[in-house]
């Protein structure tokens, strides 16, 4: 999978991938937009007149204007400031959660494939169990336990129910890789099992893992929105795109619909851009990817 093209210079694969990625205009556009989203969400509020928790007693439920870019809510909160605040949380949850879930998937999948036997059977059964019982249900049931605590618990839970499909793919990749000569050589040289997994197996799937982590960002953002919509995820006073949509979806279709449209459309745009990046990365890293790498 790596350096199969026979180019000798060590950094040439990286350069090749970069060139392929840059050639994909849509992916590049997506990346640019994601960076912009980050910039706006984190730096934007510093240059903006209103704070997300600040009331404007002179403007209740006002449509977008020069003073309030996205209008105001019924209580006089500024929608732009709130949306940016929500986006901060959604972005960080997506990013941290995606890295965590890919890490879990890599370790669990590689362990299942490499050790086989009971480890393998146990992990496969766990994966099947979690696929039968969707993570959404479990997190919703557990939500009273992390209410009024830090949202970091929520991120860990999200990641804990996102890794299964990836782990399956990693497992099957491990099964074919572990019979290769360099793995045998490492084993006969006395390298410990976990070191083989971390140093020799996983780096050989790095392309797949990078793609997976990128796509996980968008799935996690979607999962966060879904759970927070029902009050099972991010809790007030924290704001995320999910809580904003929960607060304002009933305004959609009325003249106050802007309260819903701004966060909703920004959310869709964000997820779309992350997916564009993921798709571009897939094409750049693994031009022959077929069904072997789902999603």
């Amino acid at each position: 999978m790596t350096a199969a093209t026979g180019i000798s210079k060590s950094d040439s694969r990286g350069r090749l991938v970069l060139r392929r990625f840059l050639r994909r205009r849509l992916a590049l556009f997506g990346l640019l937009m994601v960076v912009l989203f980050f910039g706006f969400a984190y730096l934007g509020p510093d240059f903006y007149k209103w704070n997300y928790n600040q009331l404007d007693p002179a403007a209740f439920l006002e449509p977008p204007s020069a003073s309030h870019w996205f209008g105001t809510t019924q209580n006089g909160f500024d929608m732009f400031a709130q949306t940016m605040r929500g986006m901060q949380k959604s972005l960080i949850i997506g990013l941290v959660g995606a890295l965590l879930s890919t890490a879990i998937a890599a370790l669990a999948g590689a362990a299942a494939g490499y050790f086989s036997g009971w480890t393998d059977r146990g992990i496969i059964a766990l994966i099947d169990l979690l696929l039968v019982l969707p993570g959404f249900l479990i997190i919703a049931i557990l939500s009273p336990l992390f209410q009024r605590r830090t949202w970091l618990i929520f991120v860990v839970l999200l990641a804990a129910f996102q890794w299964m499909i990836t782990a399956r793919v990693v497992r099957s990749m491990t099964l074919s890789l572990k019979e290769r000569e360099f793995i045998h050589a490492a084993r006969f040289a006395g390298v410990s099992n976990w070191k083989i997994i971390l140093r020799h197996l996983l780096p050989n799937m790095s392309s797949f893992l990078v793609i997976d982590a990128t796509i996980n960002v968008s799935s996690l953002i979607l999962a966060e929105v879904g759970l927070s919509f029902f009050g099972f995820g991010v809790q007030p006073p924290d704001i995320s795109l999910g809580t904003l949509i929960n607060d304002h979806w009933q305004a959609a279709g009325t003249q106050d619909g802007y309260q819903f449209y701004f966060p909703a459309i920004l959310l869709v745009a964000l997820v779309l851009c992350v997916n564009l990046v993921g798709d571009g990365l897939r094409d750049a890293l693994d031009p022959n990817a077929g069904m072997g790498a789902p999603r």
Partner: protein
């Protein structure tokens, strides 16, 4: 033999999943708070008696409560809801509502997706392929809540445009119309269209993407060329040889997607105010209703089991290698 082994395994998973839901719900939810929050607060002894009656008393050890619940389950009773009603009755009422949505959504969605994906692959890089890829890409980026709201608004605009009401975006039927008359059935259909559309669109986007990839993998293979070389016409070769093979990997997704479609229906029921299992799930958690939550966990697990078993059946039908092993 293969199917029997799968069935046993799947049943085992359902038992595990249901027990896990019960234990987690019993751990996380606190039914006592429902009663203690009342004004005036009832004396603790009364609360204990109430909770004991519902098998929800957190002073009883978890194992004992779980045992009691399992015993009821063996006799066909899922316990009592937090109001003291029967979980079975409530579930019977709501199941039909959800199943209608879920079945229509999953069947039409997967059929449309498979057909579109296969067609896309045959016409790779054509206009229809680009359009289909783009549409499914966009749909997959929209959260179910937002998609439902958009479709609900879209329905209203269609009504406005035509000047009369042809689709409804709240509720399941108009109260007062009798069930089996023509007007009653049309009315139900008019209520069904928009919510189903959400699930169908998502299923379509999901399946068309995978089906396209899987079909592309198959189209390049020798046996499709051989089939054509033997004199089969192209559509015949494509459908009988290529599509049949390309469908095999879809089976695995079908079971997995069924769990996802249930999640989707939770949002759909909320936005379109249907009173199905999804709405009940949300309410049960908010009201600390352990028995109802466990029942819903079982419902989902059984659905996934059936979907999984069906897809195993289809796989065995399509793939002779599986039958032989």
């Amino acid at each position: 033999m293969f199917l029997l082994r799968r069935l046993v395994y799947l049943v085992l998973l359902v038992v595990l999943a249901t027990s896990l839901t019960y234990v987690l719900a019993a751990l996380a939810l606190n039914p006592r708070s429902n009663f203690e929050g009342r004004n005036p607060a009832p004396p603790p002894a009364v609360v204990d008696a109430l909770l004991d009656d519902l098998n929800l008393n957190n002073k009883t050890p978890m194992l004992k409560r779980f045992g009691h619940w399992t015993e009821g389950l063996i006799h066909g009773s899922l316990g009592k809801t937090i109001d003291g009603g029967s979980v079975n009755d409530e579930m019977g009422r709501r199941m039909g509502v959800s199943l209608r949505l879920l079945l229509i959504g999953s069947i039409l969605g997967s059929l449309a997706g498979v057909a579109a994906g296969a067609y896309s692959a045959v016409k790779q890089y054509g206009f229809s392929d680009h359009l289909m890829t783009f549409v499914s890409f966009v749909i997959l980026s929209i959260p179910t809540v937002v998609l439902s709201v958009f479709i609900a608004i879209g329905g209203t605009s269609v009504n406005d445009l035509l000047g009369r009401r042809i689709v409804y975006n709240t509720g399941e039927y108009t109260p007062g119309l009798s069930n089996w008359t023509e007007a009653g059935i049309t009315d139900r259909l008019e209520h069904l269209i928009l919510p189903s559309l959400v699930l169908i669109l998502q299923g379509f986007a999901f399946y068309s993407r995978y089906q396209r990839n899987s079909m592309l993998d198959v189209l390049g293979s020798d046996f499709v060329r051989t089939a054509q070389a033997k004199g089969l016409r192209r559509p015949q070769a494509l459908i009988k040889h290529a599509l049949r093979t390309a469908l095999i990997p879809m089976g695995t997704f079908f079971a997995y997607e069924f769990a996802l479609i249930f999640i989707g229906s939770i949002f759909v029921e909320k936005i379109f105010t249907w009173h199905g299992m999804g709405e009940w799930f949300i309410q049960s958690i908010q009201r600390n209703d352990v028995n109802a939550t466990a029942a819903i966990g079982m419902f989902v697990a059984v659905l996934v089991l059936i979907a999984g078993f069906l897809s195993d059946l289809v796989t065995a039908m399509l793939d002779p290698r599986v039958r032989r092993s």
